[in-house]
């Protein structure tokens, strides 16, 4: 029952529309829109609660409690924050490039939304089952760079500019090892379709066969979403708040939530590619597949937060050095080793 909860809802909707005499094309379109809206709501609510989770995790790690006054266990804390931010003035600096300045926060949620459309949340739970799924996801993930750059450039503030230049440098150099690390998985599966990648992990997750690739992917992904130890972009003690320095009110809230949306993306991606997606481990199928997916995702999200509250910040040249001198060669070596392994594998004829 729970297993097919969402697919059943979708089916019900489809039948409803069918019986209402809607033509099949419109039927599909409506269904897709409903799915996308559901995903948008899902991302927004999740991002909202992840902020709270972060503050709670931080609190417990720092021998504190974290928000607990607003609502039970402080559950409504972030709702209040958003309520406040919505009603707050959005100051536009006099010398800012107004169009870019306002466009950036408006666009910042587009890439995460588009990426999530292609991610299978559970069995048969994918809004867009693309056969170049991975390619699509990576292509969109790098779009965020431009949006951050827009915000930083548009602010016309030196701190913002420095921050946005760091964003570009960081994202471009960490995109490479991230994609290269996934290459090993693509070679093993022979497809870029995310559903097929999950299906290929039926017997063994790729984290076991491709541990190095997982590590590289995860590190690069943490860097991609600008989290500590790679949070140079908004390195508070260095460049105030990076590209968001001049943003207040909802403009800032969008960036703030987008950060959590991108954490969700990288965790969802890592889950899909390396942790078997919605597949239940050890035959524990009584827990619905989508719940498994979220469980794995949240574990990874927790790890990302754990990083944040443990590590200091790396320096910008060290960041570049680490990316280009360690991660890229390592990921290339991983591709190479995977190729040889596959060849030997076939030669033995298992």
């Amino acid at each position: 029952m729970l297993e097919n909860l969402f697919t059943n809802i979708a089916g019900l909707l489809r039948n409803l529309l069918d019986s209402a005499g809607v033509p099949p094309l419109w039927n599909d379109v409506t269904l897709l829109v409903v799915k996308l809206v559901a995903i948008l709501v899902f991302i927004l609510i999740n991002a909202l609660w992840l902020v709270l989770m972060e503050r709670k995790v931080a609190g417990y790690m720092q021998a504190r409690i974290g928000p607990n006054r607003v609502g039970p266990w402080g559950l409504l804390q972030t709702t209040c924050d958003i309520g406040k931010l919505i009603s707050k003035e959005i100051p536009i600096p006099k010398s800012a490039d107004k169009i870019l300045f306002l466009l950036a926060p408006a666009l910042v949620f587009v890439p995460p939304l588009m990426i999530f459309a292609a991610i299978p949340f559970g069995k048969d739970m994918v809004a867009l089952d693309l056969n170049i799924g991975l390619f699509y996801v990576f292509a969109l993930a790098s779009l965020t760079t431009i949006i951050f750059w827009m915000g930083g450039w548009g602010s016309n503030n030196k701190y913002s500019l420095l921050g946005s230049m760091r964003v570009v440098a960081q994202m471009v150099s960490y995109e490479l090892p991230m994609i290269l690390s996934v290459l090993g998985v693509i070679m093993l599966v022979g497809s870029m379709n995310l559903t097929e990648i999950i299906a290929a992990q039926q017997n063994m997750w790729f984290i076991v066969t491709q541990p190095i690739a997982f590590l590289i992917f995860f590190i690069a992904a943490v860097a991609e979403c600008n989290r500590t130890p790679f949070d140079l972009v908004e390195g508070e003690s260095e460049i105030i708040n990076g590209p968001y320095t001049e943003y207040g009110g909802m403009g800032f809230a969008m960036f703030f939530l987008a950060e959590y949306a991108s954490i969700m993306i990288i965790s969802a991606m890592a889950t899909t590619i390396f942790l078997g997606g919605w597949l239940a481990p050890f035959g524990l199928t009584f827990i619905p597949s989508w719940l498994w997916f979220f469980l794995k995702m949240y574990v990874l999200i927790f790890v990302v937060m754990w990083f944040r509250w443990t590590f200091p910040r790396i320096r910008v040249d060290q960041l570049m050095g680490f990316g280009w001198k360690i991660l890229v060669p390592l990921s290339l070596a991983n591709v190479f080793v995977t190729g040889i392994g596959m060849y030997i594998y076939r030669a033995i004829g298992w």
Binding site: R55, G66, N68, R69, L76, D81, S87, K88, I90, E246
Partner: protein
């Protein structure tokens, strides 16, 4: 179209809009009151108590959800003036205040920010934050204990929730 109030009396249409606005304002005030983000900005001794001590594990301002220190004035709601304002720092304190987005509040922490404190006689000290910016809550002490500063935050919360408190 004539707009009437609940007793059927006619009233100007602007008023109706305002009345609606007021009730929305109440909801928003609730959100604002529970999410006061301070500007991470310290001037002197009081900053250690007001911004660091209160955030520390013992006093833990984060319980109320006020621990989100914003490094930039654009995102902050309350300016905690913690310390002595000097002639040299007054212009930039004022500028920071002006850079903050509305609605904004100010808490003056410690006797220096209230009236100049022990340095009131000095040639280089601005006697109190209210000389340059409007102050909502005063927290006395030199420096005040973190408990007192948390109380200051809660006073500000009460003020935001019920703006009439000011008229008392």
């Amino acid at each position: 179209m004539e707009v009437t109030n609940d007793k059927g009396m006619p009233m100007p249409s602007e008023l109706k809009r305002l009345v609606h606005f007021a009730s929305l304002e109440k909801v928003l005030n609730m959100a604002r009151a529970h999410s006061i983000w301070p500007l991470g900005f310290g001037l002197a001794c009081c900053a250690i108590e007001a911004l660091m001590g209160t955030n520390g594990p013992r006093y833990d301002l984060s319980r109320f959800g006020y621990e989100v220190m914003r490094p930039t004035p654009r995102q902050a709601d309350v300016m905690v003036v913690a310390g002595t304002i000097t002639t040299k720092s007054a212009p930039f304190v004022l500028r920071l205040w002006e850079q903050m987005a509305e609605p904004k509040w100010c808490i003056a922490v410690g006797s220096c920010a209230i009236s100049g404190g022990p340095f009131v006689d000095s040639y280089f000290v601005v006697p109190g934050a209210r000389q340059i910016i409007p102050v909502d809550v005063y927290v006395p002490g030199c420096p005040p204990r973190p408990d007192a500063i948390i109380d200051g935050f809660l006073k500000l919360r009460a003020k935001i929730l019920d703006p009439k408190v000011v008229e008392l």
